[in-house]
Amino acid sequence: MKMTSHLAAIGLLACAAGSALAQARTEITLARFFGSCEADYGKSIDVKAARGECGIITTLVNKFNATNKDNIVVKPQIVEWGPYYDQLTARIVARDVPTIAVMHESSLGDFVHRKLIEPMDDSFKSVGIDTAQFSDQARAGTSFSGKTYALPFDTHAWLWHFNLNLMKKAGLTKPDGSPVIPGSPEELFAQARQFKQATGKPYFAWQTVNSSASYMRTFLTLLYQQNGAKLFTDGAKPRIDMKSPQATKALKLMNQIYSEGLVMTGLDYGPSNQAFVNGEVGVVVVGTWKIDDFVAQAEKADTPLAKGYAVYPFPQLFDQKAVCADGHSWVMLKGGAKDEASRKAALAFLKFIWDNDVEWARTGHLPISKLTLSSPGFKALPMRSNIAEISASGRGIPLSIPRQRAIQIAVDQEIGNMLTSKKSLKDMQNAAETRVNKLLDSVR
């Protein structure tokens, strides 16, 4: 009898302990893009072994889930980048708000002005995230009226990725093996024609089909490289100016590059990068996020990119150095954390992300912590010295301009219409202005 009651007591105790554990478990959701790679990294917590954006963010989340002491479980909700913001909008309206969501710094303003995100300074301080350590670019990208609204994740920018094996074949490498980089539109055309003549391949690949950002990034880069360039008028009701001499010059240059057949045509995002990896072009114009993937390709023997990869910021072709830049950040939208436990769990995860800044920098993005930027770990990463200048030359659309994502899509589509559908420059400029100004008018 005594034995039976002891067993019953142990059983009850075990049930109570189990129940307490179950109660203490806090699940939070993490809405993000960066791709899905469960087959490769679904269960891995080895962040150092992960490659590329998808691998690193997946293993970071896995590691946090496996190692945090507070029984917090982060559940990723992965969406493709294209429709990500459309889905996020629908979720906010349907009150199905994720606890944490990734967001481009260029999109933050729309959510901040609608009071869907609250200042995070005190919350960051409570978990030991020192906002004073944010890089200047990260601080500018996540602050409005002196208050911080998001945890910056990276600074990313527009680059030229070179296939050095093909560049060498075309006689476009220096004695030290680095590529010959054009310093003016004339040099660009001369080198691209030389490349095509020597290799029979187009110099460039970039996304020319179903693009929603690539044309705009090239356009902004070429625009900002010119003295006095300004895309929007000042004032409470800004207007886009696509007809300024600087904008016209940038658009004409893009048009000439395309119409001369220096760009591989008909490629959307994946195939344009694949064409580069397959050795079908000399240069792919894409962002920092592809660096680690291309480095991994270059490490493989017997590939067209083997030991022949280099990356540099979009070259200075006009008056000054400038390159289109933006940043990813993490936000806690209103209504996302259902209770105090979820809020604390979300902040614990953000602290973990902050502490692992250097891991994310392995993707190719620039880190957002001053400490990481000056750390030996970051400096030891391949080719980072080539792109370090981005932290000074990176520029995006001013944060005061609303509806940046929609503006980017509209201008991008119109530039695409000019290049691939032969819409005249004037018609394209008029159409882009009409579409963007209509968007700006819709802002309440």
């Binding site: 913001y85 459309d86 909008t89 629908a90 906010i92 309206v93 729309d110 959510f111 609608r114 009071k115 869907l116 020319t208 089909v209 179903n210 929603s212 591989m264 045509t265 008909g266 490629l267 195939p271 064409a275 079908e280 509806r403 994502r405 929609a406 899509i409 589509q413 695409g416 219409n417 691939t420 559908s421 819409k423 159409a431 009409t434 579409r435 209509k438 968007l439 819709s442 309440r444």
Partner: protein
């Protein structure tokens, strides 16, 4: 006597009200999920409504006036009409042709019917993925075939002239199974004796088709045409996933415009107004179709 009559009268009334209960569940769902959103959509189309903040202001017919002056919207209306005109006749003619060819007993017919219907069970994502691989420039099946034949590469999805017809062709490939099945069901309802009589009269195949089969399945022809017009006016997924409406707005349908206006631009009033225009166009098209088929019947 009077009491009995009153009693009987009351019972009749009671029975009528209780009958209404049978349709009440349907009516409730219909009102809640169709009529109420329709009315709300109409009201929304008169507002300047920000999707994200849900703040609004009554603007009357301004959204409709904006649509009238919007080149992208007018282009999307034009594209949608072209798409319906390209796809619906093909659905009717090809669906009927397949049904006539496969309206036979035996294993071969059954296997072919399953194959032609098979693609209908795929989602739009799978269908567009498959066709993207076929149509991919430089390395797709079409490009490889062109290369093998020594022809220059052709990329229909990046051509203004070919993008919309290509989406129509993909759509026909995808869902030709439903019209085929409807026609098959109709063909199997035609009494065999009529065909026997025609055969005894030495009637040709063409005469049999024109004078027996087609009149017998006239209602199904109208049904398929009506169903396809309704469905194809709402084309969206294929265009969004294959071309995103490009190049140069040559393949953007109205539903994609509505989606972009609501979810990407956050101008929900504008999106609702475009939805009302689409509804109006569809109602007119349906009425026209019914009127034409009614006139034919009168003859």
């Amino acid at each position: 006597m009077k009491a009995v009559a009153d009693h009987g009268h009351g019972r009749v009334h009671g029975a009528r009200w209780s009958n209404a209960l049978f349709i009440a569940p349907f009516l409730a769902v219909y009102l809640a999920l169709l009529v109420a959103p329709l009315v709300r959509g109409m009201w929304t189309s008169l507002q300047d409504l920000d999707m994200l903040s849900q703040t609004s202001e009554f603007v009357g017919l301004k959204n409709f006036a904006d649509l009238w002056g919007d080149e992208i919207f007018m282009g999307s209306v034009r594209n949608t009409f072209c798409f319906v005109l390209m796809s619906t006749p093909v659905f009717v003619v090809l669906g009927l042709a397949l049904a006539l060819a496969l309206n036979r007993p035996g294993r071969t017919g059954a296997v072919l019917r399953a194959i032609f219907f098979g693609s209908s069970v795929l989602s739009v994502t799978i269908v567009t993925l498959v066709w993207k691989l076929v149509l991919m420039p430089h390395h797709g099946l079409l490009a490889n075939l062109a290369n093998a034949a020594g022809l220059p590469g052709f990329s229909p999805l990046t051509s203004e002239a070919w993008a919309l017809p290509t989406i129509a062709a993909v759509t026909v490939w995808w869902i030709i199974g439903l019209p085929m099945m409807l026609f098959l069901a109709a063909l199997q309802q035609v009494p065999g004796e009529v065909y026997e009589a025609a055969a005894l009269d030495n009637s040709s195949r063409w005469r049999t088709l024109v004078h027996i089969t087609l009149p017998a399945i006239r209602r199904t022809v109208v049904l398929v045409a009506v169903i396809e017009v309704i469905l194809q006016f709402q084309v969206f997924g294929q265009a969004q996933l294959l071309t995103q409406g490009g190049p140069n707005n040559s393949s953007r349908p109205v539903v994609q415009f509505i989606y972009e206006s609501g979810f990407t631009h956050w101008t929900l009033g504008n999106a609702a107004a475009a939805s009302q225009v689409l509804l109006g166009i569809m109602l007119v098209a349906m009425a026209l179709q019914m009127w034409v088929s009614g006139r034919k019947e009168a003859f």
